[in-house]
């Protein structure tokens, strides 16, 4: 089988040359980092003042980790390494709760990101002859624009469908012979039910491939998608702090996700002891940007859990592979592909003066999709009055949480003392979705 490849010079680069490139790029990254208030202070603490202080890739270990908390505290410009005039794009996480993070991009950053996504797309065998329907949300969410730019670079016919409106998605697939889609695995399962509900009872015969990502899922879920649609499904890995999609992707052989090591320096560590993990040992993914000018990040703790896959991939790419993401080392929930922190929900909840102290966040599967529910105690007096007051309050709380986390929950209001009280540390989050 001929291996399809976008940038053979880089993708097949032998390890030694790749590591030389990494070292050169790491020095550039440290130079950019030293232009930011955050890293100037942070790196001075460990005696790192000049890029030349990095003599080898091993010196990376002297650099402290960067955390999501660091990003939040540096918001909005503490991590900006270029003049604002050079910035052409920014993406933020939802931040109505005062905990947003932001990634700035120069034009070179966008070009580099687009190149990485183009590599991912072509590695699956997709090409400019494909019709690509991008079913992820456009705008600040990086999944939509990220894949969009990559697909356009490849020269695919891009249908910028964005997320939702399933009947329209189906219509577009049929009318334009869509051959490749990008979506969360749960949305694809939902889409399949919708297709089956139609009179025609078949999935569009033109469909060949799906790129799936943005939420952890099992091998069984991938196989189910492949069987139901009679297509190939490829795992995508990315996170907004590392641009978004385009960090790692499966190739035709699906033996793990090749991580583009000229763009990201990869470590896997034990999240408690912080010691490096062995190959095949599961730990937290830690990434250092190697090409990003506007927002360099050094040893960023992603909180995503995975392990390095040993051996060589038959495709011949030298870039190492991650196993599929197994979960998170923090309490972040992923609800239909959207990152949700329980603390954001709490903060939005507590802004309503009627709300008491006890609440419960619950996530479950309803059909193929996730469903977020928030149960909270409210003042007893409210239950005596007009029922409309309660329904207005429910809607107001739901809307406030939606504004904060971009997912609208169903709200249950309870009388004080009626929700279970836990001893010690309250168990506020109940994830009832099947484990994998």
């Amino acid at each position: 089988m001929k291996v399809p490849v976008w940038n053979p010079a880089v993708e097949f680069l032998e390890r030694e040359a790749l590591e030389r490139l990494q070292l050169a790029n790491l020095r550039k990254t440290v130079a950019w980092a030293l232009k930011t208030p955050f890293y100037r202070r942070r790196l001075a603490e460990v005696g790192l003042h000049r890029p030349e202080d990095i003599a080898s890739l091993r010196d990376l270990r002297d650099i402290p980790y960067t955390t999501k908390e660091d990003l939040r505290e540096s918001y909005p410009r503490g991590l900006l390494a270029v003049d604002l005039e050079q910035v052409v794009r920014l993406h933020t996480s939802s931040g109505t709760t005062g905990m947003p993070t932001v990634i700035h991009h120069t034009q070179a950053d966008l070009d580099a990101w687009t190149e990485l996504v183009a590599r991912c797309i072509v590695a699956t065998g997709a090409s400019r002859r494909d019709v690509f329907q991008n079913m992820t949300n456009y705008g600040l969410f990086t999944g939509g624009l990220g894949l969009h730019y990559g697909a356009e670079r490849v020269g695919m016919l891009v249908i910028p469908a964005s997320s939702g409106n399933t009947s329209r998605q189906v219509q577009l697939m049929r009318h334009f012979q869509t051959s490749v889609v990008h979506a969360t695995p749960s949305y694809l399962l939902h889409l399949h039910s919708a297709l089956m509900d139609e009179d025609t009872d078949t999935s569009p015969p033109s469909l060949r491939k799906a790129f799936i990502g943005a939420e952890p899922h099992s091998e069984e879920t991938r196989r189910k998608i492949e069987t139901l649609f009679e297509i190939e499904a490829y795992n995508s890995y990315g996170l907004s702090e590392m641009n978004g999609p385009g960090v790692a992707f499966e190739c035709l052989y699906k033996t793990g996700l090749h991580l583009w090591e000229d763009a990201y320096l990869l470590e896997v560590i034990d999240p408690d002891s912080l010691r490096p993990c062995a190959e095949e040992e599961t730990g937290e993914i830690v990434l250092t940007t190697l090409q990003r000018q506007a927002t360099p990040l050094l040893r960023y703790r992603t909180r995503d859990l995975s392990h390095l896959v040993g051996g060589h991939c038959p495709c011949g790419r030298s870039h190492r592979r991650l196993a599929r993401i197994k979960g998170r080392s923090d309490d972040m929930l992923i609800v239909n592909g959207v990152n949700v922190f329980p603390s954001q929900i709490e903060e939005a909840l507590m802004k309503a003066p009627e709300v008491g102290t006890n609440y419960l966040i619950q996530v479950e599967k309803r059909g193929a999709l996730d469903r977020l529910a928030v149960k909270t105690e409210v003042h007893a007096a409210l239950f005596a009055g007009d029922a409309r007051v309660l329904s207005d309050l429910r809607e107001r709380i739901a809307e406030r949480i939606r504004a904060a986390v971009l997912v609208k929950p169903s709200i249950e209001l309870h009388e004080p003392g009626s929700l279970p009280v836990s001893e010690g540390k309250a168990r506020r989050v109940l994830d009832l979705r099947p484990a994998f």
Copy 2:
């Protein structure tokens, strides 16, 4: 005052040279059009077989008009002038009702579109030093991606906020010192109320300019936006059949919207007699694409009503100006910037077997925003049973209409015979918004 300009060579081109360019581009366009099944047939009927048959711009008058109906009948590929492999993007109108239209783009088409939007942006005095928050919907709707690409070309800092989530919009504006926004006029008025509801009670001091479009509005509305925010607001004109935004835009002097005549050949006609209108005489705008490869359109009847502004603009641009859009010559409604045809609503409505024959579509202002309501008669038996059946039906109908027209209406269900019956042609649409 120094006039800011993106492409002086083209924007200040003297009329004679501009018309020579138009003629050359019109011949190219006819050559592309002759590659489409639709125009090969249509142009053969008037004896036009080769681009060389166009001897002067006057010969345009021998070409038949193209209508929205023609686009619908040619869906999906009857108007495609290039190989599918050359197409890198498509945008469609909503089409769950079986009446969609599609515009295909080559990479050259996207580049040309982006260039036109860049000209518009710079004509208002905005520049790469601005922070641009794009508050229009991304995805298939052309307003979001259209302005996004143009702003990126200019080198502005683009915040791809997309539409909705007002509290997040406000937060982004404050945190990133947004200086330019793009939105519908009604959304900006809504946004201002939201700002006033906040504790701070001021609009972000960084804001300097707004680009407003996608719905007809009065000079009073523009002035209101300018006064409330203490900014300059510039009118934008475009339509999805002509790419989207980037067709015509106001410059610093706001003496009408300069239409890029190297890209669009402009006619204004009486929609009934079809004779050309005089300068200053209101008629229907008819546009011919002059640069578009994948989907050339000849003498497209936009249904938008306006007139040519006489005299010269102090900015010195040679491209003629349209007055603000006065309305439509057909029954299309524009609801919060989204195009809605009553026939689409009817078709979605009639798919529910419970629905009777009499219905009424109503649009009104609720605060700054438009509100769509559909009142319909349903079978009498439904009112005897469980109230939940009615509320489920309401939700099902609302959802179906949303899928068809992308706007979710409120639904009122009435007993048979209770809605007013008009004599003769039923008056199905009630637009209760203030006229201008």
